[in-house]
């Protein structure tokens, strides 16, 4: 069973300076959703942005410990455009 904070810490480890919010969507410690706003996402495609978030979580994804991670990724610019939606 994973803790949202553990996921958050790993993402922050590879994407320092980003804003990361992780929630356990089912309360079962294996389905999560995350929103990541990172300056490293600027100019990257959605696929590339998601790959950057998945990278530090590979072993958990591989083992199945982390079954699902619904992702929303934004560069600070993209996030600003969305306003406080």
């Amino acid at each position: 069973m994973l803790d949202p904070n553990a996921i958050r810490e790993r993402i922050l480890g590879t994407l320092p300076g980003s804003e990361v919010v992780v929630n356990d969507t089912t309360g079962t410690g294996d389905h999560f959703e995350a929103r990541v706003v990172s300056p490293d996402f600027a100019g990257k495609s959605m696929v590339q942005q998601h790959q950057l978030v998945y990278a530090p979580l590979q072993d958990w994804l591989k083992s199945g410990e982390l079954h699902a991670l619904a992702l929303k990724t934004y560069s600070p610019e993209q996030w600003k455009k969305l306003g406080s939606r």
């Binding site: 998601h50 998945y54 590979q58 619904a70 929303k72």
Partner: protein, 111 residues
């Protein structure tokens, strides 16, 4: 984007598979019996845009792991449109929200 260490035979097999139809979905289960909510949702979205060729990754462990290496993407479902990797269910929903999915299927290059 593919792993250089990937077996060329398996890579060729995936190259062929993703180009076999305009819309190809690697999913858990099949169109009649999706085995995962994310796969079911991806299928549902794609079916609004045309015929979807599905590949059941649960039917073959080599495909289940192989497709992840092929696209450098750790989760299922995975969507390919006109042979190009589009993403997983989140990206698919995002593209649908933005109205860009129809353009991709129509063969227009993404924004």
């Amino acid at each position: 984007m593919t792993t250089p260490a990937m077996n060329p035979e398996i890579k060729a097999r995936f190259d062929k598979e993703v180009n076999s139809h305009p819309i190809v979905l690697f999913m858990k289960g099949n169109a009649l019996f999706p085995q995962c909510g994310f796969s079911a949702r991806a299928l549902q979205i794609l079916q609004q845009h045309g015929e979807v060729h599905t590949v059941d990754v649960l039917a073959d462990p080599a495909v289940r792991q192989g497709i992840k290496d092929y696209s450098n993407w750790p989760t299922i479902p995975q969507v390919f449109i006109h042979g190009k990797f589009v993403g997983g269910s989140d990206i698919l929903m995002e593209l649908e929200d933005r109205g860009e999915l129809a353009e991709l299927v129509a063969g227009k290059s993404p924004a």
